[in-house]
């Protein structure tokens, strides 16, 4: 019994241990290898890191609840791009010409609505047709990306609104806006998954769908709610990111789904559903960003970052399985 607890403790805190290791490694290695004078553990550097992890992080939170539910969403990158285009383009529409800066909240609203609708479409198809979420969202990834390209061809869509940029660059209590939004989303989703009926049912469905159905849980609506949430979060991520930059390329957000899934899996969420936590995903997001920044700090290039992240993902999977197996053997004896 005590052994089982210990195994669980190791698994739950693994991601934080990994982060601490990364911090120590990059601080020491940076001391000898880095060309820059500033230390890696600099407070400004850490705040910047939080800000930079916001776009992927916000989507990863949504991916966690979809995966806990036993589904997956491969279309988030395309949803991200389409929402960004709607936000930037809607600010130039002539019907909003007379209202000055009030166009900003309207553009935000339209972008978020886009995300919600796209997510709900995915959820509805998965629910009503019974086709596997992997296939539905794989198709949607192509389809939504097609919509992105149909909107403006291969041209970038841009609109610079200085009021908007100022708002995006502002900070609250010393934290930049993207960081604040990431943390708020994490807290809200953590409450949703741990303190509400919806969260409990989502875990139950992912763990054993048949048992959940027998217990009288309506599977479909819960899946649809989760897909709608991840659509909303992909759009929110676009709002946070593009309010500051003001220009979106039709290729933006490509491969985001892979980064997001990597972060979620690093956090220990199971692809098969039923297991995972928002807090651990938050850790996974930080760990990946730390790795990218740290490797950059000690002078490694993108090639090395890609290589290391890929290998770490596989190593984590392997260790996780070894730990699980150990846990099962202990249960038997």
């Amino acid at each position: 019994m005590q052994n089982e607890n210990r195994t669980r403790l190791i698994k739950d805190s693994a991601i934080w241990g990994f982060i601490v290791l990364e911090l120590i490694f990059f601080s020491v290695a940076g001391h000898y290898l880095s060309l820059s004078e500033s230390a890696f553990m600099d407070i400004d550097n850490m705040l910047l890191l939080l800000k930079q992890s916001a776009p992927i992080g916000i989507i990863a939170l949504g991916m966690t609840i979809v995966m806990i539910n036993g589904n997956i969403d491969l279309s988030v990158g395309a949803t991200f791009a389409l929402s960004a285009i709607v936000m930037l383009d809607s600010m130039t529409w002539s019907i909003f010409a007379g209202i000055g800066d009030w166009v900003i909240p309207i553009a935000w609203g339209l972008a978020l609505l886009t995300g919600v609708v796209l997510g709900a479409i995915n959820g509805l198809i998965v629910w009503k047709t019974g086709v596997d979420a992997f296939i539905v969202t794989l198709g949607a990834m192509l389809g939504y990306r097609g919509l992105v390209f149909m909107y403006n061809g291969e041209e970038p869509t841009f609109h610079l609104n200085w009021t908007l940029v100022d708002m995006a660059e502002s900070s609250i209590l010393g934290f930049e806006t993207p960081t604040v939004i990431l943390v708020i989303c994490a807290v809200l989703l953590w409450l949703l998954m741990t303190k509400t009926v919806h969260g409990r049912n989502a875990y139950a469905i992912g763990d054993n769908r048949e048992a959940a159905v027998n217990a009288g849980i309506r599977v479909g609506p819960h899946m649809m709610i989760n897909f709608t949430i991840i659509g909303f979060l992909a759009a929110l991520s676009a709002v946070v990111f593009y309010s500051a930059s003001g220009s979106v390329n039709p290729n933006d957000g490509e491969l985001y789904e892979l980064w997001v899934i990597t972060a979620v899996v690093l956090g220990g969420t199971k692809l098969t559903g039923g297991k995972g936590s928002i807090i651990a995903t938050f850790g996974g997001v930080i760990a990946i960003q730390l790795l990218r920044k740290g490797l950059g700090h000690i002078g490694a290039d993108t090639a090395m970052v890609n290589l290391v992240i890929g290998l770490i993902l596989i190593a984590v999977l392997y260790m996780d399985r070894q730990l699980n197996r150990k846990g099962q053997e202990e249960l038997k004896t």
Partner: protein, 324 residues
Amino acid sequence: MENQRLKSLMNFLAKQGILVAFAIFMIGFTLANERFLAIDNVMGVIRSSAILGVMALGVTFVVIGGNLDLSVGSMMSFSTIVVLDLHDKLGPELAIPVMFLMTMAIGAVIGILVGYLKLNSLIVTLGMLSAIHGLTLTYSGGKNMDIADKSGTWFSVFGQGTFLGISVPIVIFGVLALILSALLGKTPFGRKVYAVGGNNVAATFSGIPRARVVFMTYVISSFCVATAGLLQASRSLGSQNTVGQGLELEVLAAVILGGASLLGGSGTVIKTAIGVLILGFIQNGLLLVGLDFYVQYVVTWAIIVLAVWLDIAAKRGRIWSPIA
């Protein structure tokens, strides 16, 4: 009686629905534009689908074995870059076998991880997608790779040559499809792949070595990827590091369209080839009808979902899912 006829119709649709859809599309596009079925147009479509097609043939083995392969796109970039680089260093005669060995070595690593270590294939190949991309960038130093003497090499024959009046990529795609189809459909190894994907536990109890079979499916897949990389390199004689990026999902789309179940155990090589051609002809047909290039992605989305939906609807005997 009436009910039985409906049921057999549903069964027919479930088994051959993809062919019916293909026929409807071909007739529709032919009526809309007479150029569509012209022989040079058809050949053009098949030739431009050949690279995607060759990769899809290999992934079919992996999918039937009950696994996924998301790394084929970045593996294809790797083999393209490697063969172009070695072409100038070793000469084409040596460059091609060395590139095949290197690519298949990566495939073998994935095979060991998924087959022998029993790790989740989605995450392993996701990790390999990133890792191989890093490997490619390290190999090339991030630079584009070009053959120095483009007009003086026979290397271009694979991508640009013709054999008996048919362009070589089509010949390679066709021959490979026939060989792999025979391997999957007519040999004990092929039956083992179906068995492992269909029911892993039953296969194990029947004495089928799951690990070795899964390992082999990844090696076959990487062989196909190397062939695709050869075609790509030979066609363009120069390449970026990201040439195969995103192809993994289009490949999966073609395999799914061909009716292979992602759960494993069903699908055939020939149907995958048809899935590839459907994607190619739809793209071409939409362009000929005069629609925007990017409409094809939206249409592909609809077709993938509809194809799989019809398939499972016919199997369960009702249109809407039983999910409450």
